[in-house]
């Protein structure tokens, strides 16, 4: 099948409130897709429906052509990893222990982590520049450092698909660029399919091949960043005025909001 992820007629409600209405989308293998939209537009909900943590009231999600409900938790975790927004860890595991949890879907009940698993975990930490923390307790790391450890955990899971919910919101600008470069590398050189919710429109525009813009639980627009991120669209969805610039004289639009009244 051409598309690794397909969502058909997805509707999700919380009690009586409809959060997602009639979502239809397909994600091609080996692409980097950004989900953007205002707060409350349903981005995290959509991601969690794809990851199977939330079950749709109507519609279905298909991973590699198979309905997500037909997968066991273990099988699904071998195909998809998830990087959550909040990474509060109250327990004193070391960073390496946390990254090793990413190997869980590949281990049988009676199996222990092997030297190979440890190397996979350490490699993942090397990629996110967190190897130096491997023996430190995760509770002693800063929010940004913790976030990079969790991303390493997702990489160590060795899945075809990685879903990320605002993976760089807590990071400083250097690490934001570092991680986005890493994500791009994972897609281009390791063949992964990554869907990430992002807040920064310009970073999304620069790194994502495809962008899904949500408004009020519906897909307002999908396509390349150049197609989707225009001042008119942004005005309609975010209700702010922006100016579009091309500071690097390439095709990627840069949107700067008008700040003064």
């Amino acid at each position: 099948m051409k598309h690794i992820i397909e969502v058909k007629n997805l509707t999700w409600k919380y009690d009586k409130k409809t959060i997602l209405s009639d979502i239809n989308l397909s994600i091609a293998r080996g692409t980097l897709t950004g989900i953007i939209g205002p707060n409350g537009s349903g981005k995290t909900t959509l991601l969690k429906n794809i990851s199977s943590v939330l079950k749709p009231q109507r519609g279905s999600v298909f991973i590699e052509g198979k309905d997500i409900l037909d997968y066991s938790a273990r099988q699904l975790a071998q195909k998809m990893a998830f990087v959550p927004q909040n990474t509060n860890m109250d327990f004193d595991f070391t960073a390496l222990d946390v990254v090793l949890m990413g190997r869980n879907p590949h281990l049988g009940r009676f199996q222990e982590e092997s030297q190979e698993d440890i190397e996979i975990a350490q490699n993942a930490m090397r990629m996110t520049r967190t190897l130096e923390f491997q023996d430190r307790k995760i509770t002693t790391l800063s929010g940004g450092e913790r976030q990079r450890v969790i991303i390493a955990r997702a990489i160590a899971q060795e899945t075809d698909i990685i879903l990320m919910d605002e993976p760089i919101s807590n990071l400083d600008i250097r690490h934001q660029v570092d991680i986005l470069n890493l994500i791009q590398d994972l897609v281009q050189n390791h063949g992964k399919t990554i869907i990430t919710v992002l807040h920064d429109l310009n970073l999304a525009a620069h790194f994502c091949e495809e962008v899904l813009l949500l408004k009020n639980g519906r897909i307002y627009s999908k396509g390349t960043p150049k197609e989707v991120l225009t001042p008119d669209t942004v005005k309609d969805v975010y209700e702010i005025k922006v100016k579009s610039l091309n500071p690097f004289s390439d095709d990627t639009p840069h949107l700067i909001p008008y700040l003064s009244k």
Binding site: A73, A77, P84, D90, F91, L96, L100, L107, I118, Q134
Partner: protein
Amino acid sequence: MKSYYANKRKYGLLAIFLALFIIIAGLAACTVGSANISIMDSLKMIMQKVPFVRQWIGAEFSSTHQAIVLNLRLPRVILAALVGAGLAVSGAVFQGMFKNPMADPYVLGVSSGAALGATLAIILGLRTALGGMAWISIFAFCGAVVTIFMVYSLARGKTKTSVTALLLSGTAISSLITACISALMIFFRNRMEQVILWTMGSFSGAGWNDVLWALPLILLGIIVSHLFARDLNILLSGDESALHLGVNVEAVKKILLLTGSLTTAASVSVSGIIGFVGLMVPHIVRLLVGPDHRVLIPFSALAGALFLMITDTIARTAANPIEIPVGIITAIFGGPFFIYLLKRKKDSVV
């Protein structure tokens, strides 16, 4: 503190050392008691029963002395170790599952269900039953098991069972049952003392039957809990994260619930309700070796066994010839020790 893998060898050696220490302490416990039997004699009597060693021990011992050491003290010491291990592991499992450091083995009402069963047996005046097993123990176990199912059924949601629902359900049903027990005690006032003594928890009168009854259940409970140790670690990051990491959260919670409850039910049915062990031992062990359940569970078992074995020995010898209920000793020794440990950790770096 380094990762689990760096420390695995060290912990393995420590566990073996601790296990040996328990065996030695157990033998020592068998040599003390209200009957006047010398230490050497007690040890010799036990060694005579051990296959390879017995040929070196030629002495003859009186049948009463043998009965006391081999049929009273030895099974009692073993039972105390078993129950200590069982309660500590259940406590560790529930604390992990509920992500609540205040959880103990009795949090789901197992203790009150067992108490009701025991109360009924006491009121009906039932004594020994099938194969020498006391009716009180059988009734207590059944009471515990029925309560577990009631608590779970009440708390069960459509697709998942929330931890809060379980805790509330446990508290609700516990209160109801405790009210019933109180009512029964008023109507059968002549049995009240016996009921209260049972609930205080004690190993007096423990025999090999109790060991044979508790051993398979508690051992199974500890082994199953250890098999799910990695899942427990992952559950600590939250249900959603656990699902994303391939843990079948609903199934694992059900299994751990059942395991923890049955282990507790087995313990309570032979010893009454001994407090403190299930709550504090996992805490103390966690302060010393960390939150990783692959280490926490085996060490809680060992520490719980040692702790209850020693406190029960004190309970039966301290106020010779009166026996103090072991639950009182556990509280007296445990509380202050935990305060000391907490203070030490607070003053140290992080």
